[in-house]
């Protein structure tokens, strides 16, 4: 068998290093693009601002009184536009990351927070709060609290199923799809008996929105990302092995059940903490990991950060279109992610048919 090998190990190693370098470059480019798009996106709106004014206002927000910026620019950027943009980016980051983790755990490119029913669970929780006024928290946290609990209940059911001996990843995904239908039907039932106003509010929540962005919400999501991301990244190489099957992963020294539980809990927590603030933003959790794998391959040590940043970037782009396309009407972000994502996604799948379908 040795006779077949002619390539020089040294040159393979150099090529491999270059491949790794390209992956790191891709992540760096995404990061830079996000910083750039924050500025560009902040100029869009009724009050015209230049990119320079926007960045100066942002720097002034971080280091007060460093630059001279008009009060209007500071107020518009820091209190109106930036919260919306940051909520969009962080939501995209979280959804992109949790989608990549869920696809890895379930070894299935169809897995996402949406197809696992987690978003629908959140939607049902929110619908109970909106239609019945019942929930675990009061005041402005009524809907958010319920949505969070709804998402977690769905995750716990899937987790309980996954901890049962002999459960396959396929049956976990099927259970998630079944739960998605159950929660969607329950939400529709609530809407059917609700008054027009409440029903409209539920519909609005279900298609997702960045309109109620505040720095408090952003901080809450940022804290969850800051806690979950390092742990997910630490487990990313184990995820690479779990993708090749439980038996192989176990034979490489991984406690598969425990690792799957940790990853699933973190990905669910991440999703729940985002959708409870933004409503159901579909597609990012599905499309960002796919696009990332098509570009840089399937190594989760790189896929997780890249899919997170790509998710943030995609959501930010979708938001720009949502704001500008029918100006002054702002379209819900959930609609835009689907309208923009689907054609792009189909194009990539058709272009790289043999990649992994």
């Amino acid at each position: 068998m040795k006779k077949g090998s002619s390539a020089d190990n040294c040159s393979i190693k150099n090529d491999y290093d270059r491949l790794i370098g390209r992956k790191i470059l891709f992540i760096s480019v995404l990061f830079a693009a996000i910083l750039l798009i924050i500025g560009i996106s902040s100029t869009i709106g009724v009050i015209g601002l230049s990119i320079k004014e926007v960045y100066l206002a942002i720097f002034n927000g971080i280091f007060p009184n460093t630059f001279e910026v008009s009060d209007v620019a500071t107020r518009v950027v820091l209190h109106i536009r930036l919260p919306r943009i940051c909520l969009g980016i962080l939501a995209g980051i979280g959804l992109g990351m949790s989608g990549a983790v869920m696809q890895g755990i379930l070894r299935n490119p169809l897995a996402s927070p949406y197809t696992l029913g987690i978003s629908s669970g959140a939607g049902f929780g929110a619908a109970i709060a909106i239609v019945l006024g019942a929930g675990i928290a009061g005041g402005e946290y009524l809907v958010i609290g319920n949505a969070f609990i709804g998402a977690l209940i769905c995750s716990i059911v899937i987790l309980l199923l996954s901890s049962k001996r002999g459960t396959t990843t396929e049956s976990m995904l099927l259970a998630g799809i079944a739960l998605m239908y159950l929660f969607s039907a329950s939400t529709a039932l609530l809407q059917y008996f609700a008054d027009d106003e409440a029903s409209k509010e539920v519909t609005f929540w279900l298609i997702g929105s960045l309109s109620y962005a505040t720095w408090d919400k952003i901080l809450a999501i940022a804290i969850v990302i800051a806690i979950t991301f390092p742990i997910l990244l630490w487990k990313s190489n184990d995820l690479n092995l779990m993708v090749t099957g439980d038996d192989t992963a176990k034979s490489m020294g991984i406690d598969v059940e425990r690792t799957r539980l940790i990853l699933m809990v973190l990905a669910s927590l991440l999703t729940a903490s985002i959708v409870c603030f933004t409503g159901t933003i579909g597609f990012i959790g599905l499309v960002a990991p796919h696009m990332t794998r098509m570009i840089i391959g399937g190594d989760h040590r790189f896929v997780l950060p890249a899919s997170a940043l790509l998710g943030g970037l995609l959501l930010c782009f979708a938001d720009i279109f949502a704001i500008t396309i029918l100006e002054p009407i702002i379209l819900p972000i959930g609609i835009m992610t689907a309208y923009m994502g689907v054609p792009l996604f189909l194009y990539l799948i058709l272009k790289r048919q043999k990649a992994y379908w």
């Binding site: 393979i12 491999y16 993708v243 038996d247 020294g253 098509m294 399937g298 190594d299």
Partner: protein
């Protein structure tokens, strides 16, 4: 002994798949586990490194496997699955590097990459190093997974029906390679295999299983007897000696 197994029992629900199996393995030995479908071959292989959790005692070297951490076992025993899968695009080199995970949990050093490249060279798959694993043929994929097991640098390699998806040429070259690894690296191999003639030709020892029990074990000529094969498989055979090796010719199903 590098592996000593006593009273190994494994049940799915309450149905016993393995019953009271005893087994020992010496360094540098190639052992084939044969038997009809459902005999418990694959289950036995998976119990050895605790992919499945059986009852009974397993000693790896002098240590009790049940008291060892998974990573510790992974440094002693590698495993080649029957149907290697990967749904996501992964290069061949990255796949082989997975074998270094028990030694380097997150970041692979130059040393890890060198070891992966050397085992790829041994298996003749260096030319595909940066190709997507999913684009390779079944035979090439099998070689990649064996390269991964070699890169894992263990004393024992378990293989679950490694020849099942290969043509005759690749079956023979794989067996020659395993024999070479056993002889030159003092690694021991245990494999579940269906082909009785190939197992007899290349193995130091055969273990014949039926209904979760070992019904015969020893040198190929002592295991591949008319009576044993009739008991286990329910078929009539003719046993012949060719080039000093035992061969069987299947005649009819009984």
């Amino acid at each position: 002994m590098i592996l000593a197994i006593n009273g190994l029992t494994f049940k799915y629900s309450s149905k016993p798949i393995l019953e009271n199996v005893d087994f020992e393995l010496k360094p540098g030995e190639l052992v084939s586990v044969i038997g009809p479908n459902g005999a418990g071959k694959s289950t036995f292989i998976k119990c050895i490194n605790r992919i499945l959790e059986p009852e009974g005692t397993i000693k790896i070297g002098q240590k009790d496997a049940k008291k060892m951490r998974r990573n510790e076992i992974a440094k002693q025993i590698s495993y080649v699955p029957q149907t290697p899968e990967n749904k996501f695009p992964t290069t061949v080199l990255d796949t082989v590097l997975m074998g270094r995970r028990p030694h380097s949990p997150w970041r692979f050093s130059d040393n890890d990459i060198d070891k992966a490249l050397k085992s790829m060279e041994l298996l003749g798959i260096s030319d595909f190093a940066l190709k997507d694993y999913n684009e390779l043929s079944g035979g090439q994929q099998q070689r990649v997974i064996i390269a991964r097991a070699i890169a894992q640098e263990t004393n024992i390699i378990l293989l679950d029906e490694p020849t099942s998806s290969l043509d005759i040429k690749h079956q023979l070259s794989l067996m020659e390679l395993l024999q070479e690894i056993v002889q030159t690296r003092n690694v021991s191999v245990i494999m579940a295999i269906h082909d009785l003639n190939i197992s007899a030709r290349y193995s130091d020892r055969l273990v014949l299983m039926d209904e979760g029990k070992i019904i015969a074990a020893g040198k190929p000529d002592s295991v591949l007897t008319k009576e044993n094969i009739q008991d286990a498989y329910g078929v009539e055979i003719l046993v012949k000696e060719e080039e000093g090796k035992t061969h069987i010719i299947p005649l009819r199903s009984l």
